[in-house]
């Protein structure tokens, strides 16, 4: 007996029957599936018909049962549009996994006659969590479709944690890190990186030590550097077991930290005022632009003359480098704000102070953090130069005195330490920036989810 035929030309079917064949839900227990099917529905669409559109409320997870559809995430700012063609077994409409009942950020249209299963987002989420963790492993093997679904869940969770909402735990931290470790071990990246370092180190060792190529033989050997660095009784008095080493690091860090905070404290307000007031900008910015092309290091002698001690000269040089980057980026940040936001705020009766507090400052924040990130890099750059030219202690000083005292391995120790400390401080600023701008991260995550 043939069943009733729908307008789309598909046979009549119940959601429960469809669920029983649809991965990953087919691996759930029949009891869970029955619950899921209670609030699920099947719809048929004609070619060209819209299934969902941007801005509609998003509380369902959809799956293609039959036919083909095309889904599009419209471009947003610098993020280009994504268009995918989905077929039977593919899921879409992952916005439903987001914390607050959100809106669709993608649109989907039927390309052929299509049958779509819609599940309640909360139900689907709960069902998948119930299935964890054994089913998860099975799901991951199913292929890209299920993996996309799981990725979407993970993304939604990270978006939730970024926005501060409480997240139901699905995996323990250890499971998570084991998973990451497993991924790292199976991907070729780790091995390729090891090959890269092996080539680099063997080239160093071969050219400097083994073959003693002309010019290269003057450089410190790999073995001498490593020996010195990890020796409990170093020849030149600097290794990881010597307090002096940490003292140099600490002093450099202190200088960069002080200069960075000064630059932030002065540069951000100055940049905000430069961007905010046209008159102030027209008076002050030309002076700023005259001073800016002068390289920081050209300030060295003047700083030594002007300031009472070498120490303050070093900090001044580090400060001024970071200051220009912070101020300029803050100003650009204010200027980048869409003026219609400012006008809208005034129209709604906001005072100057309110516009400043609620429009200007948050609007400029992404640029300010870009500026701070650049500022940390430049601060280290000029700190090294300042310490090499003048000043006592610090990593730049270590490198320079190692050179003049012909303790060549120490030069490399100083360089590597500088690279490491510099990188860590940039990473710290980046991390703080991401935390403070969780709202922006969440917006980007929303785009990733779909």
């Amino acid at each position: 007996m043939s069943g009733v035929v729908s307008p789309g030309g598909f046979r009549e079917a119940a959601p429960a029957a469809v669920l029983a064949e649809l991965a990953p839900f087919n691996s759930l227990s029949p009891e869970v599936r029955r619950k899921l099917a209670e609030r699920a529905r099947l719809d048929d669409f004609l070619p060209g018909q819209s299934i969902l559109d941007v801005g509609q409320s998003a509380h369902t997870l959809c799956a293609v049962v039959e036919g083909a559809i095309d889904a599009e995430v419209p471009s947003k700012g610098p993020i280009p549009a994504i268009v995918v063609i989905l077929g039977p077994g593919d899921f879409f409409g992952f916005e439903c996994f987001l914390p607050h009942p959100s809106q669709r950020t993608s649109r989907a249209r039927a390309m052929t006659n299509a049958r779509i299963l819609s599940l309640d987002g909360g139900d689907a989420n709960a069902a998948l969590m119930l299935a964890a963790p054994q089913t998860r492993a099975a799901l991951a093997k199913e292929g890209t479709v299920s993996r996309r679904l799981l990725d979407a869940l993970d993304n939604a969770q990270s978006a939730m944690s970024a926005s501060g909402a409480s997240v139901p735990k699905r995996r323990t931290a250890t499971q998570n890190s084991m998973n990451k470790l497993g991924n790292a071990l199976t991907s070729p990246r780790l091995y390729l990186a090891l090959i890269g370092f092996a080539i680099f180190f063997s080239l160093w060792q071969l050219s400097v030590d083994t073959m003693r190529l002309p010019r290269f033989k003057e450089l410190p050997t790999l073995v001498s550097v490593v020996k010195e660095w990890f020796s409990t009784n170093p020849d030149y008095g600097l290794s990881i077991f010597v307090g002096e080493y940490y003292r140099h690091i600490l002093i450099s860090l202190e200088r960069v930290g002080l200069a960075f905070f000064l630059a932030t404290g002065l540069g951000v307000p100055l940049g905000l005022s430069l961007g905010w007031s046209k008159r102030f900008r027209e008076y002050v910015f030309p002076l700023f632009e005259i001073l800016r092309p002068v390289p920081i290091l050209a300030w060295v002698p003047l700083a030594i003359i002007m300031l009472p001690s070498d120490e303050s000269a070093v900090i001044f040089l580090t400060f001024i480098a970071a200051f220009f980057a912070t101020t300029l980026n803050t100003m650009l940040g204010v200027q980048s704000i869409d003026t219609s936001y400012i006008r809208a705020a005034y129209c709604l009766g906001a005072t100057h102070a309110q516009v400043f507090r609620h429009v200007i400052v948050p609007g400029a924040l992404p640029f300010i953090f870009t500026g701070l990130q650049i500022a940390v890099g430049i601060a280290w750059f000029s700190l090294v130069a300042a310490e090499m030219v003048s000043g006592q202690f610090g990593l730049g000083y270590v490198i320079n005195t190692a050179y003049t005292k012909i303790q060549y391995p120490v030069i490399v120790i100083g360089m590597v330490t500088l690279g490491f400390v510099g990188y860590s401080s940039s990473a710290l600023v980046r991390y703080v920036g991401r935390r403070l701008m969780a709202w922006r991260e969440r917006e980007l995550a929303l785009n990733r989810v779909c």
Binding site: E282, P295, L297, I305, M306, V384
Partner: protein, 273 residues
């Protein structure tokens, strides 16, 4: 009143800029002469030579051959380091973007070396390279190199994948994809990298000359503009320090403008927007 204002030859913006500059030069003059004029030394500024003395020193230096030789030396090092950085950095950046295995091997090493400030390389460069000029040139090269590679890599990576697919499905060869898709799409980021790199190059050359420089046969100011400043400081002629600072500022500004103009000329399609 308003009409009269708008009829003035110089726009308000320029007038304000000139006012600000004139006022600050006058303040600087008063500040540096505060001890003799006011009887009270303003800390910091009173140690700086006044602008009138700087202008005087500038007139004295302009006619000296060694001053212009410093210009020549510094510019030579900057352009040399910059050009080599472009020649090596652009192919490396593109290779890193299009070949996954190459990227996997080279990029981690690159990322470990990148955070080391270019100036920390100065001692090793002096040990390695036979002449001072070459070692300064090498450090200058490093300053621009990392920035250029990263910019090219980002640019080539951010190309919309559909462009490749479209080119390939229309039968383009690998070379054609490279020539017609990757290269033009990367030029804007190459130019951004070049502008930033040029700025860093001038910073680095000055520092490298100060740290390592020594006078050449041309006399006191033969080691480049950075050394010109340093030797002026050691010699106690503080006016010349400021002359040197201004010279470097002008030189850096001219080079950056030149690079920017070349960039705009090489990406005419960006101007139309």
């Amino acid at each position: 009143m308003t009409i009269a204002k708008s009829r003035t030859l110089i726009p308000q913006k320029t007038r304000r800029a000139i006012t600000a500059i004139v006022v600050s030069v006058i303040l600087w003059e008063i500040g540096s002469r505060s001890l003799s004029w006011l009887g009270v030394a303003i800390p910091g500024i009173s140690a700086v030579p006044p602008p009138s003395a700087v202008a005087n020193a500038f007139l004295g230096v302009v006619v000296e051959k060694s001053y212009w030789y410093s210009w020549y030396l510094s510019t030579l090092r900057v352009l040399g380091g910059f050009l080599v950085a472009m020649l090596l950095g652009i192919p490396l950046g593109i290779m890193l973007a299009i070949n996954r295995t190459f990227n996997g091997i080279v990029f981690p090493v690159f990322e470990v070396l990148r955070p080391i400030p270019p100036l920390a390389w100065v001692p090793l460069a002096i040990i390695f390279w036979p002449t001072q000029g070459l070692s300064i040139g090498f450090v200058t090269f490093l300053g621009a190199f990392f920035t250029i590679v990263i910019n090219v890599l980002d640019g080539a990576r951010s190309i919309d994948g559909r462009f490749y697919s479209a080119a390939q499905s229309m039968g383009a060869s690998r070379w054609q994809v490279f020539r017609r898709v990757i290269l033009p799409a990367t030029i804007p980021s190459i130019t951004v990298g070049a502008v930033v790199g040029m700025g860093i190059t001038w910073e680095v050359v000055v520092a490298a000359e100060m740290i390592s420089g020594s006078g050449s046969s041309m006399g006191r100011a033969g080691g480049g503009l950075g050394f010109f400043i340093w030797s002026s400081y050691l010699g106690g002629s503080y006016e010349q320090i400021i002359v040197g600072m201004i010279s470097i500022g002008v030189a850096g500004y001219l080079c950056s403008s030149a690079v920017r103009m070349l960039s705009e000329a090489s990406t005419p399609w960006l101007k139309r927007r």
